[in-house]
């Protein structure tokens, strides 16, 4: 990974916080340069006008790009001083490891060790706002870009998620093509193309060049994406590692022009910089195509793109997914997961938050932003399941707590202290569970059909969709499917495909509530061997899906579901049900096998009864044959199943 981790950080004034770590050996860069032109020109190429700088903090000389990375690093160190000059000439910003600690305007006074007040002054001068993009550029692991192999997969994942979400929202059966091209040993180009509704021209740069820009964060609705970070973060990663912009082609409907954009994210300002904006010829009537060039590592196996797309296909039976990967000797391999369902899933409905699922901070903010004239109206409008009965009960609670506020108080006038008590009181009032028709599970039949199709080597399949349930005011629904036996590896641990809103979860397996639920279940009750504290062992593939308006992930990279007791409980129930079915199947198979075995006993041992009786009773051969035939008939009659 890159070494230029530091970027300039400004913390709010008045907080005596030291800027982030500042390794030794960094070279100062004139501060005016930093502030005004903080970005590298990523690439002198691309038809971008020179004035539009590609955001690329800490990137090397453009010339050096063709060279291997390590050598570039070395060259950079060796030619250090010159770089600053180069940077100036090219309007480069911080190319060094410079941080605010050594670059402040009052650098001299710091060095001379001035008095306390001065220090505060000095520090104040260093304190400034942190751009969200900068934050994530430094903390890319939070978004799933910890290493080159994972970065590649995360990029595919984000692009595919967006494509599927767009298609589903538009009610289009998705046709998605994922292409991976290997440009160099560690450089790849990921292209994801869909037949979705397309993106209108104005939105394209923001969607791909601005973090936390999206439509899904504020809607309480089941969707794959949530925060609007994913694809722009992938673009940012590509930019950081290769200097290449994100290329987007999109047509928002038949007859409209196909727009082609090349966008980079300005990490300091968290805004998109558009390098190219043209219309192009494109054979798709509608859809979007996004291409990101990035450093990466192509791997097969559990965390591979192939495996990921297979899992996507299982949870999205209505989608056709084509994967074009680098084949042997420069060729390409084409893998197609054709759809098994011809109906798009029911479009999930957005719901208002449930009072029990809202945290205090958000509650306060909602009150601040509300234009409602009274608390009564505010609560009824902004939340689900709040009616007169709830208001009456709430008023009782509030009065009992001795608060001044009434149902008629305008929400913006409620003092913070009372708002807190109000929030607590709301938690005590009995409120109906939130509506659950906002969820769109895959469904037992489709899940079963998809699993049969995608994991064809098993011989037993089952699927369970639980009724919706609620955690912390958020509706959710659990589905479990399993494939067992056949040619699946019998002596390996079971494979667990985890899904959240149809998105496969790839990493942090052991931190996930789903894994915990599987490990905690006594699989031996279902005739599957299991070591203590481990996944069951056997030819078993488990699919666990949580559909929710808000899936509680343990981190922003959305890799593991948090251990809410309600969620664990529901997963457990679903696993138990499918486990019971599996146990029944295994029991039956064993009985059938035993039956076969016993049937062979008849052929094997009855002749010996004949021989023994013949010897003892001195029977003729004919008599013996009669005895054997009669006994065989009698026993076979009794075993008929």
């Amino acid at each position: 990974m890159r070494r230029e981790r530091q970027s300039r950080v400004r913390v709010p004034a008045g907080r005596s916080q030291r800027p982030v770590d500042s390794p030794a050996g960094q070279r100062p860069v004139p501060v005016d340069q930093q502030l005004e032109v903080p970005f590298d020109v990523a690439q002198p190429a691309v038809d971008a006008p020179p004035a539009v700088a590609a955001a690329k903090p800490g990137e090397e000389l453009p010339r050096a790009e063709a060279q291997p990375r390590i050598r570039r690093e070395a060259a950079r160190v060796a030619t250090g001083p010159r770089v600053a000059a180069d940077g100036e000439a090219r309007q480069r910003g911080v190319t060094r490891r410079g941080t605010a600690a050594r670059q402040g305007r009052s650098r001299a006074s710091v060095a001379s060790g001035s008095s306390g007040g001065d220090i505060a002054q000095v520090m104040a001068s260093k304190q400034r706002e942190i751009s969200i993009s900068e934050f994530f550029a430094k903390n890319r692991h939070l978004l799933g870009f910890d290493n080159p192999a994972k970065a590649l997969l995360t990029t595919v994942k984000e692009a595919v998620d967006n494509a599927l979400d767009a298609c589903d929202e538009a009610g289009i059966l998705p046709e998605i093509e994922v292409q991976l091209e290997q440009l160099e040993e560690e450089r790849f180009r990921v292209t994801v193309e869909d037949n979705g509704p397309g993106i209108v021209r104005n939105q394209i740069p923001k969607i791909f060049g601005k973090l936390l820009y999206g439509s899904k964060f504020h809607a309480l609705k089941q969707s794959r994406g949530q925060q609007g970070i994913g694809i722009s973060a992938a673009g940012m990663y590509g930019l950081l590692t290769t200097g290449k912009p994100v290329e987007i082609t999109s047509r928002a409907g038949t007859g409209r022009p196909a727009h082609h954009f090349e966008v980079v994210i300005n990490t300091e300002k968290n805004t998109p910089d558009t390098l190219v904006d043209t219309t192009v010829e494109w054979d798709k009537p509608h859809g979007t195509r996004v291409a990101i060039t990035m450093q990466g590592l192509y791997k097969k196996g559990r965390h591979s793109i192939d495996g990921y797309l297979l899992q996507v296909a299982v949870a999205n039976p209505h989608a056709t997914i084509t994967y074009i990967s680098p084949g042997e000797e420069g060729g390409e391999e084409r893998l197609v997961y054709a759809r098994t369902a011809e109906e798009p899933p029911r479009e999930p409905r957005a719901i208002k938050p449930h009072p029990h699922g809202v945290e205090l901070g958000i509650f306060l903010k909602m009150m601040q932003n509300s234009s409602a004239r009274s608390l009564r109206a505010f609560l009824k409008e902004e939340f689900s399941r709040v009616g007169d009965k709830v208001i009456t009960d709430l008023v009782k609670e509030v009065t009992a707590a001795g608060l001044q506020v009434t149902a008629g108080t305008p929400p913006r006038r409620v003092p913070v202290r009372d708002a807190e008590a109000l929030h607590t009181a709301l938690g005590r009032v009995k409120i109906m569970a939130p509506p659950t028709d906002c969820l769109s599970p895959i469904g037992e039949d489709l899940l079963l059909a998809a699993l049969r199709q995608r994991v064809p080597q098993a011989h037993f399949y089952t699927a369970v969709t639980r009724p919706p349930a609620v955690y912390r005011g958020n509706p959710f629904q659990i589905e479990v499917a399993l494939a067992y036996g056949g040619d699946l590896p019998a002596d390996a641990l079971a494979e667990v495909y985890r899904y959240a809103n149809r998105v496969p979860l790839q990493y942090q397996r052991s931190a996930c509530a789903m894994t915990k639920a599987v490990v905690d279940l006594p699989w031996r009750n279902y005739k599957i061997p299991q070591s203590k504290g481990a996944l069951p062992t056997g030819p078993l593939v488990l699919v666990i899906h949580i559909a929710s308006v808000w899936v509680p992930f343990t981190s922003e990279s959305k890799e593991a579901v948090a251990h809410y007791p309600e969620i664990l409980h529901e997963i457990r129930l679903a696993l138990q049900e499918s486990g019971r079915r599996l146990g029944g199947h295994i029991g039956h198979s064993r009985r059938v096998a035993e039956e076969e075995q016993k049937r062979s006993y008849i052929q094997k041992y009855i002749p010996h009864i004949g021989i023994a009786l013949q010897e003892i009773l001195r029977l003729t051969d004919k008599e013996r044959e009669r005895t054997v035939a009669t006994l065989t008939a009698t026993l076979e009659r009794s075993r008929r199943m």
Partner: protein, 383 residues
């Protein structure tokens, strides 16, 4: 010296043996016939075995030994049991063949015989032993023991010396061999594995069953049997099947009592003597043939330890456990108050004494003093 048996009597012995064998064959045939008839009637044949579990063992007070109860386990011929059924029938066929050819087979022999049975062969000897035990139990109901089925144990019996003539028909010729047990010099007659066909002639007054070979040798070498007019039998620990059967048959046919002379410790009393007299709970189905209910206990008794001032060793942990267990659970001890008292006394003293402890008073003290004195008061022997 014993009187000679007449030719007519020998003919009778021969006839009796032939009859016994005929009965065995007939029972096997009848069992097989029942099975065959049932099959031909399109039914599932079954065999009824007495349940061989401790729950089905009762102590027969009037007979004085453990007996198998009335519970029967019915094994019906189904697909599940077809293998065991085939093996049982083939084993019965083997038994019939052995009787008819006046031959015999040990457990190991029978196991190897099965290797000729193709699919019905036994994989290891435990399998064939189980089937053999089943057949033994099956026919024990008809008072036929395993030896009569010509399945004999591997171990032979103990040694015999004294006023006894054994008539042993030759397997091949049927000629009866006369064995005089007084004429073995310092050696002894060894009880064969199979004793069913033997006949006896004796004028001895009792049988002395001795625990150790050493004591037996002393009494034999000094011809104690002549002095006491008795038959000496060496048991060498817990008596084998054939030793027990030999003593049983001899005492019954000659109508003479059996006196046991063993070490004074819980093992000698509750294992050796008790097994000789009433058999064991584990093999209750064979006790009717093997135990010697008429036996009584000459010594060494706990009282002897005091009376003869015998050197002792402390009781071992296992001895104490065995004694307590016997007092608590063993129907034999529950039955005999005298034995409970003796065992309690032994536990109280906390010591044990061996037969050879009498050597304290001189090597031949046992036959010059101890045994004659004991034999004067036979009525005082422990039951």
């Amino acid at each position: 010296m014993p009187k000679r048996i007449s030719q007519a009597q020998l003919g009778g012995i021969r006839k009796k043996n032939v009859q016994a064998d005929r009965r065995t064959v007939e029972l096997i045939r009848a069992t097989a016939d029942e099975v065959n008839t049932r099959i031909l009637k399109q039914g599932k044949p079954d065999l009824k075995f007495p349940v061989r579990a401790l729950s089905n063992v009762v102590y027969a007070e009037n007979k004085g030994y453990f007996e198998i109860g009335r519970q029967k386990k019915v094994r019906t011929l189904t697909v599940n049991t077809v293998k065991a059924f085939a093996q049982t029938l083939r084993m019965m066929s083997l038994s019939k063949q052995l009787v008819e050819t006046h031959d015999f087979a040990t457990k190991r022999d029978a196991y190897y015989q099965s290797k000729n049975w193709g699919a019905a062969m036994f994989q290891d000897q435990t399998e064939s032993d189980t089937v053999m035990d089943d057949i033994e139990a099956l026919f024990s109901v008809s008072a036929i023991n395993r030896e009569q089925l010509r399945f004999i144990p591997d171990e032979h019996g103990g040694a015999v010396a004294g006023e006894l003539v054994v008539y042993d028909p030759d397997l091949e010729t049927g000629e009866i061999e006369r064995i005089d047990c007084t004429r073995f010099g310092s050696g002894a007659y060894s009880i064969p594995s199979l004793v069913e066909h033997l006949s006896f002639e004796t004028e001895a007054k009792f049988i002395l069953a001795i625990e150790t070979g050493g004591m037996f040798q002393r009494l034999q070498s000094h011809k104690f049997w002549k002095k006491a007019n008795c038959i000496l039998v060496s048991m060498s620990g817990v008596p084998t099947r054939s030793t027990r059967r030999f003593i049983r048959r001899l005492s019954e046919e000659a109508r003479i009592p059996v006196y046991a002379f063993v070490d004074c410790d819980p093992y000698g009393i509750s294992n050796i003597y008790r097994t000789l007299k009433v058999g064991s709970g584990n093999a209750a189905h064979i006790n009717q043939f093997f135990c010697v209910p008429g036996a009584c206990y000459l010594g060494v008794t706990p009282e002897d330890i005091v009376e003869y001032k015998l050197p002792t060793h402390p009781l071992k942990e296992v001895d104490i456990k065995r004694a307590r267990d016997a007092l608590k659970n063993d129907p034999f001890f529950l039955q005999h108050r005298a034995w409970r008292k003796a065992m309690e006394m032994l536990l109280k003293m906390g010591v044990r004494a061996e037969q050879q402890a009498l050597a304290k008073w001189g090597l031949n003290y046992v036959m010059e003093e101890y045994l004659p004195r004991k034999l004067k008061s036979v009525a005082a022997f422990l039951p």
